[in-house]
């Protein structure tokens, strides 16, 4: 099987879905899960294939590499595709069914996200990024929150234009758009123009990755959109953009200037996100700001040169992709002011879920969050560069702040003076339960996961593997 189907299947599904719904609603509701399940099986099959035969490249239309457009399929890209497809599939398990527009856009965003991480060509990255962007504007507006979506669109369109400008600059000084081809002569991009291009691309991709200066849409959209959409955008889609940034760093910008730029944005994201989360009074907003902080941590990890940073980044990204969607799904019943949560501890299951997720996000051992943050600290310490070692302070302070705001919420939940709020129905908790189950499974297999992550990261950090297919 060919990895191109990971993009084609969801697109096909997206366009078939409304037609099938018109004929038969019952069949229609099964199209989405069916397509995603098929993609998931395909992705796992490819994983084994790559483990056996090495990375795959797909040449569109059979044109050889620097001229033709390529898909580059390695374990890192597949890992993120699996994360996206599996996450979307779990989010599908919720109570809401039969919303045709939303389900179409969900499939479209999965197609765009898969294309984004698999693509080995800068302009293709732009096109897939726009597919993801347009689908997410639609999803943000799907509950009638047009104003938040419009403000999101304006920022997103500004970012996309700057991304295109950055890509145009790279093409102007190198004359190629193929990532592997660019990686053969990274020194061309080390000048001022090349770094300007990187900064522009960083701002462009940063809109989805919730990087520091361009994340003002996050709290607005996550409070107004439905829980499922907030979970998808914050937990899964943001990681796809970060992966593209990582690829660019490894292949084209393996210099301290570019790394420090990403590090600065990450640190600013962590500080502003966590401080804002502490002041927020709405549960969804707390989660939104905390998601900005967590993605800042991932950005810090990716900015650490070498495989250690990549391992930490992947671990943080995977952990956040499990925990944040689950937390957002819990807010479906509670998504209100924090003061409304008084007495929420009446429903035991929900409280336990919330506690486990919050503790893992803070990083309490033995939950995986601790392990991910530990890897980040270890990677930062091993660099012997002052800037990274100072970052350790930021990470630890951020952890303290996270503890403060999550424990404040828990305190309110156990406060039983006012009449207790209605307990959420069990069916609503299914996605969160699945995520927590996955979390516990990962706790039990930390050793195996750690080893395979190390293999993934070392092969991703090795430029020569990526450039192998070039017929030069």
């Amino acid at each position: 099987m060919n990895a191109i189907w990971l993009v084609i299947l969801p697109i096909l599904g997206a366009f078939l879905l409304p037609l099938v719904y018109r004929q038969n609603t019952r069949v229609g509701t099964w199209i989405g899960p069916f397509i995603l399940g098929l993609s998931l099986i395909l992705a796992f099959g490819l994983w084994g294939d790559i483990a056996a035969n090495g990375v795959q490249t797909i040449l569109m239309g059979g044109f050889p590499a620097p001229v033709g457009i390529v898909f580059y399929v390695d374990h890192l890209a597949l890992l993120f595709v699996i994360m996206l497809v599996l996450g979307t599939l779990v989010l599908w398990l919720g109570k809401e069914k039969g919303n045709i527009q939303e389900e179409t856009l969900l499939l479209l965003i999965v197609a765009g996200g898969s294309g984004l991480v698999l693509s080995g060509d800068l302009f293709n990255i732009y096109v897939f990024y726009e597919i993801v962007a347009v689908a997410s504007y639609g999803l943000a507006a799907s509950r009638g929150s047009y104003a938040a979506s419009l403000r999101f669109l304006i920022l997103g369109a500004l970012g996309s234009s700057l991304l295109l400008l950055g890509i145009a600059l790279i093409y102007a000084i190198t004359g190629t758009l193929n990532l592997a081809h660019l990686a053969t002569h990274p020194e061309i991009l080390q000048g001022t123009v090349g770094l300007t291009a990187f900064a522009l691309i960083l701002i462009g991709l940063g809109v989805k990755a919730e990087l520091f200066p361009v994340n003002t849409w996050v709290p607005e959209v996550y409070t107004t959109a439905s829980a499922r959409i907030s979970a998808l955008l914050g937990g899964l889609i943001s990681k796809m953009a970060l992966l593209v940034i990582l690829r660019l760093l490894v292949l084209l910008y393996d210099t301290s200037a570019a790394h420090l730029l990403l590090l600065t944005l990450g640190v600013l994201g962590v500080i502003t996100g966590e401080l804002a989360a502490m002041r927020a009074t709405h549960l969804r907003q707390v989660l939104a700001y905390s998601s900005i902080g967590q993605l800042g941590l991932v950005a810090i990890a990716f900015s650490i040169p070498g495989p250690a940073g990549i391992i930490a980044g992947i671990a943080l990204a995977l952990h956040h992709a499990l925990v944040k969607p689950a937390l957002f799904m819990l807010t479906k019943a509670w998504g209100k002011q924090l003061s409304h949560l008084a007495g929420a501890s009446q429903s035991l299951l929900t409280t336990i879920l919330f506690l486990v997720l919050a503790l893992s996000l803070i990083g309490i051992p033995p939950l995986p969050g601790f392990w991910a943050k530990f890897l980040l600290l270890k990677g930062a310490l091993a660099t012997n560069i002052a800037a990274y070692q100072m970052v350790i302070t930021v990470v630890l302070i951020a952890t303290v702040i996270e503890t403060i705001y999550f424990m404040r919420i828990v305190r309110v939940m156990f406060n039983t003076k006012p009449p207790p709020i209605k307990a959420p129905a069990l069916q609503e908790l299914v996605p969160a339960l699945v995520f927590v189950t996955l979390l516990f499974i990962s706790v039990l297999n930390l050793g195996t996961i750690g080893k395979s992550l190390e293999i993934v990261a070392t092969s991703a950090a090795d430029k020569s593997i990526y450039m192998n297919f070039l017929p030069l």
Binding site: A133, V134, G144, A147, L158, A168, T216, P219, T281
Partner: protein, 137 residues
């Protein structure tokens, strides 16, 4: 040579001017229609920039004809610009559709006011981007 240098100078400064003007309009305006106009200027600037990258003086269109080997302009940026224009128009159409919906729902197109209204709907007040305690009315 003098002549071609002049062409490059004019077109690059034109593209740069459009981009800066667009970003300036998007960042400083509060009315959403003005912001979208700024977005259009920005996109036009970026597209013009891409076209100039591929431009070569006295070159022909990039179509291979037997027995002709004159210099050709670079076809890749042209293909990119075609795609970028289509995407740009689609995003602008989506933006205008959302503008209509937003105006019907809120009766205003001022971004600051809209941000305030969004915050009020969720029960918080945002002052200069910082959420504050719920106002007791």
């Amino acid at each position: 040579m003098e002549e071609t240098a002049g062409i490059y100078f004019f077109s690059y400064s034109g593209a740069l001017g459009l981009i800066l003007l667009g970003v300036f309009a998007m960042v400083t305006s509060r009315h959403i229609i003005r912001i979208i106009l700024g977005l259009m200027l920005l996109e036009a600037g970026v597209n013009l920039f891409l076209i100039i990258i591929g431009y070569r003086a006295n070159a022909i269109a990039p179509i291979i004809v037997e027995g002709q080997n004159a210099a050709m302009v670079d076809p890749i940026p042209q293909a990119l610009v075609l795609t970028a224009i289509v995407i740009g128009v689609a995003v602008q159409a989506l933006a205008l559709a959302l503008v209509i919906k937003t105006y019907k729902a809120y009766g205003t197109l001022d971004t600051k006011e809209l941000a305030q209204r969004i915050a009020e709907e969720s029960g918080t007040h945002v002052i200069d981007g910082i959420p504050t305690e719920e106002k007791q009315v």
